[in-house]
Symmetry: none
Subunit: 100 residues, 2 copies
Amino acid sequence: MLQAGDVEVRPEEFVALADGRPLSLTVRELSLLTALVERQGKIVAREELYRVVWNEPYRKSDRSVDVYVAKLRHKLGVALPDRQLIHTHFGFGYRLDPGA
Amino acid sequence: MLQAGDVEVRPEEFVALADGRPLSLTVRELSLLTALVERQGKIVAREELYRVVWNEPYRKSDRSVDVYVAKLRHKLGVALPDRQLIHTHFGFGYRLDPGA
DNA sequence: ACCCGTGTTTTACAGGTTCTTCACAGGCGA
DNA sequence: TCGCCTGTGAAGAACCTGTAAAACACGGGT
């Protein structure tokens, strides 16, 4: 079980909770969220996310990570309004912040 | 992990800390700071900084190094007031001095 | 086989950030 | 003082990100 603030992930059960309420995520979305929660607070390179979630070498023209970050942001934004969980680090990647 | 006085750099994590607090740097700024910290206390030729950070041959009319030294000085100055970290060596280059 | 629904990947473009270059003011050494 | 060097703001170029939508993949039902 992984936790980051109000977000809880149980990858083996294919479940993610926000404030205790279940999030309806697809496989990719859950996989990306898991990767981010496992690295919470740290800046994660887009390349690393791609390797871990997609399990294949990264092509720098690939925008999949960005697209799925947007999907996650949207669903997390609905579940936990007024919180900025996923931060962008320009030219590098993203970071999920547990706290406020 | 690299350290120079109150400045700590972890290039692989894309992080730089001043007095333990994260600095918000761009890719180039972090790269230049890394090069200077790796050579702390030494006078580094503008040409060497250019080669290392920009990864291409140096044209003596190029002012990029100076511009980015100014950017770094400003951000470091905000984070660590009253300290002169980066020194100019006229006609040559720059030197980063580990904190007092 | 075909259609449909769901999920994934790719594309396209708008908008934003960063980088480079220029210009000029001021500093430094001879 | 003169000539060269450095500091730095500003402007446009170059590059990166957010996001909607199109294209694609695939399984289930008919």
